[in-house]
Symmetry: C2
Amino acid sequence: MSVPVQEETLRARKRTATLLTIRTAAIELGLEKGYENVTVEMICEASMVSQRTFFNYFGSKEGVFVTAGKNMPSPEQVHGFVEGTGSSVFGDLFSLIADTMVDGDPNLKLFRSRHQLIAQTPELLNREKARISETEEAFVGYVMARYHFQGRDVSSTPDLEDEARMVVALVSGAMRYAMQKWVAGNFTATRTELVRSVSALIQRVTANEHWP
Amino acid sequence: MSVPVQEETLRARKRTATLLTIRTAAIELGLEKGYENVTVEMICEASMVSQRTFFNYFGSKEGVFVTAGKNMPSPEQVHGFVEGTGSSVFGDLFSLIADTMVDGDPNLKLFRSRHQLIAQTPELLNREKARISETEEAFVGYVMARYHFQGRDVSSTPDLEDEARMVVALVSGAMRYAMQKWVAGNFTATRTELVRSVSALIQRVTANEHWP
DNA sequence: CAGCATATTTGCAGTTCCTGTAAATATGCA
DNA sequence: TGCATATTTACAGGAACTGCAAATATGCTG
């Protein structure tokens, strides 16, 4: 009758709790005093752990602010993208990335605070950009998989991988644009609307072009 | 008769010499041992200056490798872009940025060594990317200026600045794509060819789209 | 050239981030 | 309960970086 409630072991729960405690304290301090005026020591004192534990969890001071939980799409998400109805690689990829960033984080409040802090701290913003761009390689793979699923092949299109890279680069650019608007608070819309709005802008921009 | 040879004062020449000595030593050591295995102390010993002097010059360890001086486009370049014949914002902006990056470094040998080291050091590569993306804000301004020069105005197009940002974001994405290829050594072409190639790819990618 | 003003270099103390190591403590499990 | 393993902690120390004031070098004027 009684379902085992113990989905997670005590250890795991404590770990999660500690991680969240530290991160919350860090972000709170960061927003209050500014990133560079917060020392690891302060964060540790506020969250009642040793410095060594802090570094065990996050590896670096920046890590506690920048590293989100998992920010790679789940296999299901990837599958959905690869075999998607997919008339629009661009829109679909944008959605996939947006999903990965937003839905991955269960705590929306913390997520927003985190991004507010990152947005107002050049050092963290750069790191965040770097982190995002590091995942691009994976996305190139997904786009290629999708192309293959659609029957497109390297034999028919020799520079198919270049094409994939370009798609990822463009989406990435669009993503940065969207993130910028989002943290600036100009996007209260749902993600669907956001995708639509961004897509429209891209279309307009590219349509206006008289290419060289 | 004798033209004053003293274009630069002794002080200035010494400064330049010291800077070059330190940077050269640093890059040599970096290529030899790898970035993270080189300490500032080693660089200082090799170039016979104190650590304090090192930091006076470069501000940080990364600085000696990444900072190339400021490379923003000259007023003439900007003017050329703003009032350009301009059938293609995209291509023109891409060219402007490419010009800005390649220009300016008188010492080609060192320039190449530097980029080789940056390319093989993720930490430096990220920093380099960050440095580039920091100039994006300025480019948004140039695009807006160009729009205005073309008679486009915020009154007729309320979200003109959004459009400018999107253009910069997309070009920036394309730029990263190009840099990636460049670092990988797949681009031996001239910049004109590079622009053409990138443009063609963008057109193909966007043309294939069935936008949402 | 002397001598003063200013620029540059340097030494040194101190802060902060971060790492290795080994001991102490907590949890999981038989 | 008691052992295996995971987690936390203290401690020592390396390396990046900053502020400060003294020492040195250069520029300039008379």
